[in-house]
């Protein structure tokens, strides 16, 4: 694969993580445990959507074939999406969403911190903005994991079960398929392996403070960075893309 194609795929992978995570968070609106939480999850989803839009636009520009953010979000098929499976699966209960948010936003915070130094100026600019937003997201997930883990017997049990459910999908965050050596050497991309230890340390600290146990489970067999997705991704895309495809060119 040429560096140019790898560059497009790298930006798309980052965009798709944000876009699909945002779509899932949006499902909580009007269904969260309390009104403040509806607002919080909508806000976090909106930050991710904003990042996704900037990244999709950039991916289209780097690609140079005239595809804009909408073409990339609404008119790609499932196998062309490069997001990790962690973000696409059903929301589960509130504890599952918080476990996922903790794993994802801690990863994103490390990623954006590192990408502020990217030689791709647009990526560096998105990163400088996104790192501040991710800070709030990590903090929100952390507060809930602490509250539920160190709460009642029932909340503790469900928070632990949520961690066990999400943990196998966290390993894929460190799959560097989308960040080949050539792209890392040119300073455009960051190998996620470089911050895996930092990520583990931060997540472990929250898990232990929440009186929870680190799951002892094997990583799931995944493949999101290759375009291989779970069954649930199909339903998500059907909902997300249906209006744009049923009524091409429709505007408000």
């Amino acid at each position: 694969m040429s560096t140019h194609d790898a560059h497009v795929r790298y930006v798309l992978a980052l965009a798709d993580d944000a876009l699909i995570a945002s779509q899932r968070l949006g499902e909580w609106i009007a269904s969260a445990p309390e009104l403040e939480e509806d607002v919080a999850l909508a806000n976090i989803g909106l930050d991710l959507l904003g990042q996704a839009r900037a990244l999709l636009t950039h991916a289209g520009e780097v690609e140079g074939e005239g595809r804009d953010e909408d073409a990339l979000a609404y008119f790609r098929d499932e196998r062309e999406f490069l997001n990790v499976q962690l973000v696409e699966r059903d929301n589960g209960d509130f504890a599952v969403t918080m476990a996922r948010l903790l794993l994802l936003s801690t990863y994103l915070h490390e990623l954006w911190s590192a990408l502020r130094a990217s030689t791709d100026d647009v990526l560096a600019a998105v990163a400088a903005k996104a790192v501040k937003e991710a800070d709030y997201h990590v903090d929100h997930a952390r507060m809930w994991v602490l509250r539920l883990g160190d709460g009642t017997e029932e909340s503790h049990r469900r928070m632990q079960a949520a961690l066990e459910a999400e943990w196998p999908f966290a390993a894929e965050l460190f799959d560097a398929t989308h960040a080949p050596a050539s792209l890392v050497e040119s300073g455009i991309a960051v190998d996620p392996g470089t911050f895996r230890d930092a990520w583990t340390k931060r997540v472990e600290a929250v898990v232990s403070e929440a009186t929870l146990a680190l799951p002892d489970v094997r990583p799931a067999v995944t493949g999101g960075r290759h375009g291989i997705h779970t069954e649930q991704m199909g339903y998500l895309l059907a909902e997300m893309q249906h209006i744009a495809r049923s009524h091409p060119g429709a505007t408000w």
């Binding site: 939480e37 607002v39 904003g50 100026d121 400088a128 903005k129 800070d135 709030y136 903090d139 929100h140």
Partner: protein
């Protein structure tokens, strides 16, 4: 053809556009108006920057800036969205902070120079001035605000988050 000298200063016109979410503040007060350039032919190029990546007000601001400049005789207006350097609440003017507080929104506190956002900040209630307040939610009615309540006057209020 009009010469720029007969027109109201483009920066002044663009800067006076109110923020659609917090209309008491102008985009100049907020620090999201980055640059206004007028070339010899009278074409205006405005740069604005979002407070948060997903701020839905950017499209409205872009339209409002264009309309304001057109009504002052600038016919050729381009509004660019710039991401770098990332906006910070430090760019909010002193005047903006005062207006925000008078409007009932607690202005941003000093931004932490680096590292994590502090969890507990003591805020003064913009209604009664009491320092006895607590945070209800880190996320409020817009991306840039959090939700607080005053323990003294019992009124809820918004806080413009430091970022």
């Amino acid at each position: 053809m009009v010469t720029t000298s007969t027109l109201k200063d483009a920066r002044e016109v663009a800067g006076a556009v109110p923020d659609p979410e917090i209309p008491v503040l102008t985009i100049e007060d907020l620090g999201i108006l980055r640059d206004v350039e007028v070339d010899d032919a009278g074409r205006v190029r405005v740069s604005i920057t979002p407070t948060y990546s997903g701020c839905p007000a950017m499209e409205a601001i872009r339209a409002d800036v264009t309309a304001a400049l057109k009504s002052e005789g600038y016919d050729d207006v381009t509004v660019d969205l710039v991401l770098s350097p990332a906006w910070t609440t430090d760019w909010m003017s002193e005047e903006g902070r005062r207006k925000l507080e008078a409007y009932g929104v607690a202005p941003p506190t000093a931004r932490p120079s680096d590292g994590p956002v502090p969890l507990t900040l003591s805020l003064r209630c913009p209604q009664c001035g009491s320092p006895d307040t607590r945070e209800l939610s880190r996320f409020g009615s817009t991306a840039c605000k959090s939700l607080w309540v005053c323990n003294t006057c019992r009124e809820p209020f918004d806080h413009f988050k430091s970022i």
